[in-house]
């Protein structure tokens, strides 16, 4: 962990190829000798909802975590709202303020009440007054259907409620775009629906979203574009009905067959169809 590092320097505006919300170019990421991302070119336009699918270990979460620099890219460039976040002179805290992030494990702060979870960053980072921060928090809790959980502590929430509270916490910072890292993977099946409903309404409101998910029906219904990743590379992308309905690449077909018909093996385990 960095020791009280803080950059106040404002970087000059860096020009990008497009005015995309997220622009990633030839991104490589290695953990030691393990190459997790092998040259990713990727973008998310403003207002677009992009779902990233793929087998576990394909690098989709790492790609998402590179975008707000929770992982440091080994090489390559990433622009968020036109700012080069890989530039060391960029105030990364300021960039992260504009990016909402939702984790698989929720990561609510267990020592704070739901309301405090939503207000602490508003007050510490955005310097909002308590009254203002609480008003924003209450609006967002209502929005995700948790208006009655204001004084509860995270341990008292179900997984679905915790994840909705986490979404509300991100929304309270007024982000320009939202990153979702397998937001429903840690939930009991009957709790998934509420979280997807919140995400669906966010998408309908025009929020820019990048969603790493295993929920194929959500991707089909909500995504403007689906990206299939395998083995650290983007294999196939396009409209959801194209990628999910008529996949071109055999790896995509194989993956979808396994996800959509669990238990029904389409190809032998050693890989030859």
């Amino acid at each position: 962990m960095k020791f009280m590092a803080r950059t106040s320097r404002q970087p000059e505006v860096v020009s990008t190829a497009s005015d995309a919300a997220i622009e990633v170019r030839s991104l490589h990421k290695s953990f030691g000798t393990l190459e997790v991302l092998k040259g990713i070119d990727f973008h998310v336009d403003r207002g677009e909802v992009v779902c990233v699918i793929g087998p576990s270990g394909s690098g989709k979460s790492t790609l998402l975590r590179c975008i707000n620099l929770l992982e440091t890219p080994t090489s390559g460039k990433i622009w968020v709202s036109g700012q080069d976040v890989t530039d060391l002179d960029v105030d990364i805290d300021a960039v992260r303020r504009s990016i909402g992030m939702v984790f698989q494990q929720f990561n609510l702060f267990p020592h704070l009440s739901v309301l405090e979870n939503l207000t602490i960053a508003q007050r510490r980072v955005l310097r909002r007054s308590r009254t203002e921060a609480e008003a924003v928090a209450l609006t967002n809790l209502e929005r995700v259907g948790l208006g009655d959980k204001v004084t509860a502590y995270p341990a008292q929430l179900s997984g679905g409620q915790a994840q909705r509270a986490a979404i509300a916490r991100s929304l309270s910072m007024g982000p320009d775009l939202m990153l979702f890292d397998e937001p429903t993977s840690a939930l009991d099946p009957e709790l998934v629906g509420d979280v997807l409903e919140v995400m669906r309404s966010l998408a309908a409101e025009g929020m820019t979203m990048m969603v790493v998910t295993h929920e194929m029906s959500f991707a089909r219904e909500v995504a403007d574009r689906v990206v299939f990743m395998d083995d650290g590379a983007i294999v196939e992308e396009g409209r959801p009905e194209a990628v999910l309905g008529a996949p071109q690449h055999p790896r995509t077909r194989d993956f979808l067959a396994r996800v959509l018909n669990p238990g029904h093996r389409v190809s032998p385990p050693d890989g030859h169809a």
Partner: protein
């Protein structure tokens, strides 16, 4: 002959009978030793030497108003100093800046490795001998440094372990809300770390309470005597060991409640996990 019947016939006892026999023998031995002590001990002599009420009465109220109070004050001062410095050392050990880690490591290994008594001699006699002057801030400075600096070494390791026990996702969530690493540490990680380490820190207070007896070697006046010194002086004056027994009981007044607190907190933490 089947195995089940042989097992039942071993020594002519069933398993149940054998358990009863072993337990009965232990209770009988315990009772026997207890009775022997009660019968054989020279009770009038023991109570005159160690529980002499006439002697004990002369110790009050000074043993409480001066000695117990000073023990508590020295312990508290050592603890507060140690906690503050320990937190700094813990953060240094976790720093990305290597020299901070080196300094903290050397400090921690040094103070964990040398006897407290040697360190107290150094502060009380070594420094004045070399410089020809006492440390400024008498009489408290050698006590605070004497107890606090070694305590900081132990507490640093406890605090570091506590910080590392907070899941990584907590800091990641804080950072992705735009908090700086310092803000994330102060508002999110450290409060949770302290919850985890309250039991071991309370143990540290118990150890410090007992270690405070060693400050007697710094040379104390009537007003600055703590329990052990007070008991020893009273032993010499009154030529009876009762003061030492009473002083011992006074330590237990501090340490036993703390022990009980630790046990309850540990039970609580185990349940919460």
């Amino acid at each position: 002959m089947s195995t089940t019947t042989t097992a039942r016939r071993t020594g002519g006892l069933t398993r149940r009978q054998r358990i009863r026999l072993v337990r009965g023998v232990q209770y009988a031995a315990f009772l026997g030793v207890g009775l022997l002590i009660v019968v054989k001990a020279d009770w009038p002599r023991l109570s005159h030497d160690y529980f002499n009420l006439a002697i004990a009465r002369q110790l009050f109220p000074d043993i409480l108003s001066t000695a117990l109070k000073n023990t508590a004050i020295y312990t508290a001062m050592g603890f507060v100093f140690g906690l503050g410095l320990g937190l700094v050392l813990a953060l240094m050990r976790l720093s990305e800046v290597a020299p901070y880690r080196w300094v903290a490591n050397v400090y921690i290994e040094f103070f964990r490795g040398i006897p407290l008594l040697l360190w107290l001699f150094f502060l009380g006699y070594g420094v004045p001998t070399a410089t020809g002057a006492q440390l400024p801030g008498q009489p408290y400075s050698p006590i605070v440094l004497g107890l606090g600096m070694p305590a900081a070494a132990y507490m640093a390791e406890t605090i570091r372990a506590g910080i590392q026990a907070v899941p990584r996702g907590q800091a990641e969530a804080a950072r992705s809300l735009g908090m700086s690493s310092g803000q994330a540490m102060i508002s999110i990680v450290i409060p949770q770390a302290f919850r985890i380490i309250v039991p071991p820190l309370t143990n540290e207070v118990i150890l410090l309470t007992k270690d405070s007896s060693l400050v007697a070697i710094l040379g104390v006046t009537v007003g600055t005597k703590e329990l052990t010194k007070f008991g020893r002086d009273a032993l010499n004056q009154l030529v009876n060991p009762t003061p030492l027994v009473i002083a011992g009981l006074c330590y237990l007044i501090i340490t036993v409640p703390l022990s009980l607190v630790v046990r309850r907190l540990e039970a609580h933490n185990n349940r919460a996990r």
